[in-house]
Symmetry: C2
Subunit: 354 residues, 2 copies
C-alpha cells in the first residue's frame, strides 16, 4: 500500500454521505478474535508472534473480503507512517506502539481494516460514514465468518470468544458511533447526556478512542460490556439511544439559532476567519475552530464550504499527515505554521466536487 498516495485523499467514511451525517461522523464495529492454538500476543515470544502474523496474513489474503485488502507490515514502517495510519483511524494506537511482527489489511475505501497482533491476534474493524451500524455489522460479520471457516478461534462455551483483556471476552465486539456535538457542549447539556449513557452501560471517549481527549466536540459512544448479551442486542442498545442524542443536539442547535442567531453566526464566521487567516495554529485550536465551522455549515450559517472538506481537515491537519504532506520531519512550531498554510490553502480554493 502506497501510504504517500493516501496523504491527499480521505477515507470513504469521511465523505459525510451516510445517514445523519450532520452529527454522526462515523459508525464503527470492531471484533476481537484470537487463535485457539496460540498464546495471546502479550504472552507470545517474538517467534510465535511471527508465526501468528504469517498465518493470519495468509488467512486474510484467502478470504473473500481479504482479496481486496492491501496488507501493510506495521513493524516495517517508520514511526511517522504508523502515526499516519493511527490518525486515519486505520490502525489503533496499540497496534502502532506494539512490538514484533504485526500488520494490517486495509480496503481501498479505507473502511475495512484487519489488524494482526494488536492486543488480540485479530482485530477486525469496519467503518461507515454517518449512522450505519447495521451495514457495519453485516460487513464485519461476513468477514468474521469467512475467516472463522478456516481457522479455530479461541472460544469457550461458557464465556464466548476469549480475549487478551477480560473486558472484551464474550462477543469481542465494540460498537461505536462518533458524534459531533457542538450544540450540547456550548449549552453545557453534554454532561446530562454522558450521565444517561453511563447508566445504560455505554462509554464516552474522544476522537482517538480510549484515553484520548474530547477535541473539537467529537465524542465516541460505545458499549462497555461484551459479555452476557448477543452482538445484535449490543448494537440495538446503541442504535436505539443515538437518535435521542441526535434529537437533543438538533433541538439545542435550533434553540441557539432562534434565540441567539447573531452570536452564533458571529462565532462560526470568526472561526472560519481565523482558519483562513492564521499563520500558525495548534492542533487543538484547529479542532475547536473546525468544529464551530462544521456546525455553521450544518446550520446554514456558512455557505461555499462542504462538510467532506471539513471532515478531511480534521484528519489532514494531524501531525503525521502534515509531515507526510511536506515530506519532512517537523517540530511543533514548524507544524503549527505548516498546518496554518495547509488550512488556508484548502479553504481558499473552491471546494472539491467529490
Amino acid at each position: 500500500m502506497d501510504l504517500d498516495a493516501l496523504t491527499h485523499t480521505s477515507g470513504e467514511w469521511l465523505r459525510a454521505t451516510g445517514p445523519d451525517s450532520d452529527i454522526v461522523m462515523s459508525s464503527r464495529i470492531r471484533l476481537a478474535r484470537n487463535l485457539a492454538d496460540y498464546p495471546f500476543p502479550n504472552r507470545a515470544s517474538d517467534a510465535v508472534r511471527a508465526d501468528i502474523e504469517q498465518l493470519l496474513r495468509g488467512e486474510i489474503a484467502k478470504s473473500p473480503a481479504g482479496k481486496k485488502l492491501q496488507y501493510v507490515q506495521i513493524d516495517a514502517l517508520e514511526t511517522l507512517d504508523r502515526q499516519f495510519l493511527v490518525e486515519r483511524q486505520l490502525i489503533s494506537r496499540e497496534l502502532s506502539e506494539n512490538h514484533g511482527q504485526r500488520g494490517v489489511g486495509i480496503s481501498p475505501e479505507e473502511n475495512v481494516s484487519l489488524m494482526v497482533n494488536e492486543e488480540d491476534h485479530l482485530r477486525m474493524q469496519v467503518l461507515r460514514s454517518g449512522f450505519a451500524l447495521e451495514e457495519c455489522w453485516r460487513d464485519i460479520d461476513a468477514i468474521d465468518d469467512a475467516i472463522e471457516s478456516s481457522v479455530t478461534y479461541a472460544f469457550s462455551e461458557q464465556f464466548g470468544y476469549l480475549t487478551a483483556c477480560p473486558t472484551n471476552v464474550g462477543t469481542g465486539i465494540r460498537v461505536s458511533v462518533l458524534l459531533h456535538l457542538p450544540g450540547l457542549v456550548m449549552t453545557k447539556e453534554i454532561q446530562k447526556v454522558f450521565q444517561a449513557l453511563q447508566k445504560i452501560g455505554l462509554a464516552v471517549r474522544g476522537l482517538y478512542g480510549e484515553g484520548s481527549q474530547a477535541m473539537g466536540d467529537f465524542y465516541q459512544i460505545s458499549n462497555q460490556a461484551t459479555l452476557g448479551k448477543g452482538e445484535e442486542q449490543i448494537i440495538k442498545t446503541i442504535k436505539d439511544v443515538i437518535p435521542n442524542i441526535l434529537a437533543y443536539e438538533r433541538k439545542v442547535r435550533t434553540t441557539l439559532v432562534q434565540e441567539n442567531r447573531q452570536n452564533l453566526h458571529d462565532q462560526v464566521s470568526r472561526a472560519l476567519g481565523n482558519l483562513k487567516h492564521a499563520r500558525q495554529i495548534s492542533s487543538e485550536e484547529t479542532m475547536h475552530l473546525l468544529s464551530s465551522v462544521r456546525m455553521g455549515i450544518n446550520l446554514g450559517l456558512i455557505h461555499d464550504l462542504e462538510i467532506p472538506t471539513l471532515n478531511e481537515l480534521f484528519i489532514h491537519t494531524q501531525p503525521a499527515h502534515l509531515q507526510k504532506l511536506r515530506h519532512e520531519r517537523m517540530e511543533t512550531a514548524e507544524r503549527n505554521a505548516a498546518r496554518a498554510d495547509y488550512i488556508r490553502q484548502r479553504l481558499t480554493v473552491p471546494p472539491s466536487t467529490n
Copy 2:
C-alpha cells in the same frame, strides 16, 4: 453643508499622504481666541452668545479662508449629526455639548474648522495628514491674522491672549500630533515614552482628546503650557521630540519582525480575518483589530489593502457614522452588527483608488 454627503467620504487628513504617515496619523494646531468686548461664553447670556455667534460668523465669511468654508449652525443640528462631526474631528465634544447659538466653519477638505462659542468665542483648528506641523502653523497663523485684522481679540500685554480657561492663556495654542504606536504598546515600552514626554511638559491623550481612552494604540501628543513661550517655540518642542518617538516605534517594529515574524504575521493576519468575518463587533474591538492590521500593512505583512482605507475605517465605524450610513437610529447591538457588515463590505471590495 450636506452632512449626509460626508458619510461616504473622508477628510484630507485621513489620506495618509503626509510625511511619516506610517506612524503619524495627523498633525493639528488649534488657537483659542476671544473677542475683547464680550464675556467668555460660559459667562454670557443666550442673547449675548447669539450676538457673538452672529458677529464671528460674519467675520469668518468675510475672511479669505472663510470664503471657502461652509458654515454649520451646530445648535440647529440633531445630537447624531453633532456626534458625527465630533467623530470626524471637525468639532470638539465641548462645542457639541455646549448650549446656545454656536457654529463651525468647515473647509471642503475638512482640514480647517473654525468653531464659534466653544469654550472660547473662537477656536480655530487646522489638521494635516502625517507629520506636518509647519504647514498647520502657516495656515492657522494666516487665518488668525486675517480675522484679527477686523476684530479686537481679548489680549493682555502681560499674559497674551485671554481665554475662558487659564490653561489656554498666552498663546492659546494647542499643538498636537496623533501617533499610531502599536509596536511600543506591544513591547510595553510605551510607558517610558509617556514619562519622557511628561518631563518636557507634553501631554498624552487618546484619539478623541482630553479624557478619551487610548483606543487602537493611538496617542495624541500635545503641549500642556501655552504661556511663557512663543508659538514657534511650542511647535519646535513637539517637532523635535516626535522624530525620536518615530525612531523608537520603528526600531521596536523591526525587532518584532526580526525576532518574532511568525507570531506577528499570525496576529495581524488573524486581526484581518476577524474584521473580514465578524458578524457583530464593538467599537473597541474594531479599533484594536484595525490597529493590528494597520501595523501589518506598514510592515509589509499584509498586502492588497491600503492605509487610507484603514484610516477611514477608524472613523467610519464610529457610532454616529454608522447610524448616518444606515439612515437610522441604532442601539448598541444593532450598531455592532451594522459595524461588522460595513467593515466586511469595505474589506472585501477592492481598495478605492483615491
